[in-house]
């Protein structure tokens, strides 16, 4: 019977992790280009129960559940029109390359700006890399910046560079925070097109997350009920079965 206590506890622990994942998804519902996470649960390996007296096999039993994986949902978010010349959304599988202190990182958060050197940067100030792996310099003192669907950047009609989009191999993508991910470039997949004046919304669906939240809380509650029921059973076993009148 005590085994049940621990099985129910593993379910509650998994529900806590799922709760954390849902909280992070909803907290980032306003982060452009954010990709939500999905907590995937699995059961522990089955073990074979054997009656110790008769040596009869009683059958398999799993000893609980755990979160096997927190998978990144890479579905594209919807596009939002902003009209700002340095907002870009990527229509397709591509990622923008960013030169950070720690090396090249990738982002889908296209709310870009410029720095003092005229380099196009992310909101964190890290330069966005062009097709040749170099930062793109625009002269902020001169007129309108135009970005073509293929990522070619022109200022007042003069070409100054091209955004270097890359597709990443799905399983290699690891989120690092600050809207950045690492991953292995995938040369075989076309990176898609750039939409200037748009931002990609987070791909978080509030309704789904709310439903998950309810389900998750009730799962947690169910785990608690199981533990209390087992506790009551143990209470009877300890305090009533053995009572001397």
């Amino acid at each position: 019977v005590e085994r049940g206590l621990y099985i129910a506890a593993t379910g509650m622990l998994a529900a806590q992790i799922r709760q954390d994942v849902i909280a992070n998804n909803l907290a980032n519902a306003s982060t452009p280009g954010f990709k939500g996470d999905v907590a995937v649960s699995e059961s522990f390996r089955d073990m074979l129960l054997v009656d110790t007296n008769s040596r009869d096999r009683l059958g398999p039993l799993s000893t609980g559940a755990q979160v096997a994986e927190v998978a990144v949902n890479l579905r594209s978010g919807t596009m939002r029109h902003t009209g700002s010349s340095l907002d870009v959304a990527i229509n397709g599988a591509g990622w923008l390359q960013v030169q950070t202190d720690a090396g090249v990182r990738y982002t889908r958060n296209g709310a870009l700006t410029t720095n003092l050197q005229g380099q196009i940067t992310t909101a964190q100030g890290d330069p966005v890399l062009g097709a040749a792996g170099q930062p793109i310099v625009v002269d902020g003192t001169r007129g309108q910046i135009a970005i073509s669907p293929s990522g070619v950047i022109t200022v007042e009609g003069r070409e100054v560079g091209q955004l270097g989009l890359v597709a990443l191999q799905d399983p290699s993508i690891e989120k690092l925070g600050e809207s950045y991910v690492t991953g292995t470039p995938d040369a075989g997949t076309p990176p898609g097109q750039v939409a200037q004046g748009y931002l990609e919304n987070a791909n978080v669906n509030s309704v789904e997350e709310m439903v998950d939240l309810i389900v998750n809380m009730r799962t947690y509650e169910a785990g608690q009920k199981v533990i209390r029921a087992i506790d009551e059973t143990l209470d009877k076993a300890v305090n009533q079965v053995g009572r001397v009148q």
Partner: protein, 254 residues
């Protein structure tokens, strides 16, 4: 124990900032030359909750969101008709004014006035750079600003040139600091002001008789407000739900 509480709290904080920014935008919807702001979000660091079991299976969990920047949106505001002392800039440039402490500030709000001493000033009394003085017997009806920035006024039959307005442009106009009173100040991020003759090298034209209103789009702001409020509500629900879960855990022990 349940990071969800703190994760959700980070979302509430960020949405509060977003709401403050929207409130300021809407409050300044009728401010001449005002540039709207926008809150830029990004996700916080991720923590490993277990060993990576295979290349395909991540075990990282996010810890919330934060405001990375409040960006100034530099788009042109709408032009409205004004008097002959109203100037609008069509393009990138900024007019220069002198603040009371002697420093130079930059503005796109071109509502000019003449103070008691005849100086050309902003409504708040900052003098235009270069300083211009209207002669006492000049007729203000003849106050003219040409597209290239030359300011003239007639005194009797004579045409007097008061000065040439130059426009300041910046390498990184996103880096300008808002100091209130429709003014911007240059910072290490914006780079030093480069003075240009209006109409040349992308500085923009000076248009007399027009005023640039704010570039706040009321509809966008209202939609942003709704989405901000609902996001706030959603993360607040996470806090309540996490609280309930903790309460459930606490009632394990009867």
């Amino acid at each position: 124990m349940l990071d969800a509480l703190y994760t959700a709290a980070s979302g509430m904080l960020a949405q509060q900032t977003a709401m403050d920014v929207i409130a300021n935008n809407l409050a300044n919807a009728n401010t001449d030359g005002f540039k709207a702001h926008r809150t830029a979000f990004s996700d916080l660091l991720y923590t490993e909750i277990g060993p990576r079991q295979s290349a395909a299976q991540g075990q990282e969990m996010g810890t919330g969101t934060r405001v990375t920047a409040v960006q100034t949106m530099l788009g042109q505001g709408a032009m409205v008709d004004g008097t002959n002392t109203d100037l609008a800039i069509v393009g990138n440039g900024y007019m220069q004014v002198q603040r009371p402490d002697g420093t130079t500030a930059y503005t796109r709000a071109g509502k000019l006035n003449v103070d008691a001493a005849g100086n050309v000033v902003t409504p708040a009394g900052e003098r235009l750079i270069p300083a211009m003085q209207i002669p006492q017997d000049a007729s203000m009806d003849t106050f003219t600003v040409e597209k290239n920035g030359r300011v003239t006024v007639r005194v009797g039959d004579q045409l007097r040139v008061l000065g040439n307005i130059q426009l300041a442009v910046f390498q990184n106009p996103n880096g300008l600091e808002n100091v209130g009173g429709n003014l911007f100040r240059e910072t290490a991020n914006s780079g030093a002001a480069q003075l240009r003759t209006p109409g040349q090298q992308g500085a923009g034209d000076v248009q007399q008789g027009f005023l640039e209103k704010s570039n706040v789009n009321a509809v966008d702001e209202m939609v942003g407000m709704i989405s901000t409020q609902r996001s706030y509500e959603a993360v607040a629900k996470i806090v309540t739900a996490s609280d309930e879960m903790l309460s459930i855990a606490n009632s394990l022990r009867r």
